[in-house]
Amino acid sequence: MSTPAHVTSKTVLTRVAAGETGAMNVCINLYGPIVWTLVRRYVNNTSSEDLVQEIFAEIWKKAATYDPAIASESTFIGMIARRRAIDFIRRQLRSPGLEPLEVESSFPNPALEASSIPYDAEALKSSLETLPEETRKLFHLFFYEGFTHPEIADKTGLPLGTVKTRLRRGLLALRDRLRRAGITNTKTVL
């Protein structure tokens, strides 16, 4: 397996993990706009800024688990930000104002458990193109346009349950295609 293009000798996250002075500031400068923009797609209200602060605290805590062989820094940070935003929304919906903050977010440790599939834009793009057109359309509405499931159901005329199922199965299909895309050391968990 060749070394992914995003693997550099010393990423900012490894510098953060090593406790290098100023590394967290560099990380904020590099990824702050991405985290901010991503969060605003999910939480566009007064809580957005608080959530970004929380996400950077988590990035700091999880920096040591980052493995550049698995994903780019932006993907790793995007995953943390997105998961935090989703967890935030879900807790808001379930019991607003009552749930204590969970310091640990609910996704697994990527460095320890993720399979090695390529997450770079080129591999994603080529694998996406092999998916059925309807799935690609649903992905576009969900990931690119940022529509919710009910909004997608409204736009497409599909039942809500169908939207949900097809997005899930589409994600699994994309993963399977990426797994077959030339990675020889995929760790098959399932």
Partner: protein, 255 residues
Amino acid sequence: MNPSDPVNRYNELLAGRALGDLSLEEERELALLGKQLGISPDAELELLAGALALEPVLQRPEPMPAGLAARLHQQADMIGLPGGSPIIYPQVPAWKNILLHPMTGWAAAAAVVILSLVLTQTEAPLPPEQAAALLRSVDKDLIERRFVGLGEFKQASGQVLWSDAQQRGFMILTGIPANDPRKAQYQLWIVDPTRDSDAPVDGGVFDIPRNGSPVVVPIAAKLALSNPQAFVITREHPGGVVKSKQEHVVALAKN
């Protein structure tokens, strides 16, 4: 795909989790299936969904608000700085529970994580001024009082910072003589008017290892506090006392 196959169902639920669309029932089902199948979720689908969601963001990233960027950098500046003063830990095992008290909101989340680490890692103590700045950044309604040395302890001075919202705080003390813990120890008392004022809350026992530079002492209140009005340091027998006779009042901080 056969949805009734448990492995397929597990995969589908994992995908739903990565997409953020699991219902409560499905979350329980996912946990149960994982247990039954003897497998734990990997982050593959999370990373994949993250990569897909990131693509449009990378094309049009928006700058953060200046105030947010400044706060983030302020918090980042607190990390990894060389310690200038020791942190003195109160000898109350329960004090760690105070630091782990459930938080009451999101506003302080990031700094609170950092603050907790600052106050729990002896190898990386924070200089008092920065510790104070950090706590101020997480609670705008912070209670701050000045300590005044009393009697034979006139040289004592310092500051106490307490956050009702976070139920945590600390003291920055100078000029308190070093003590021999075999003979005497210092003890903090907190007067909370919502409680019996004749029985102030025990804030923990601590030592001053040497005379000189300021020390930071996390507050180890054994009870929840609400708008405490006064903080009193006394010198007591080793191990502290349940009720102080106030024979040796070291310093007082009050409104």
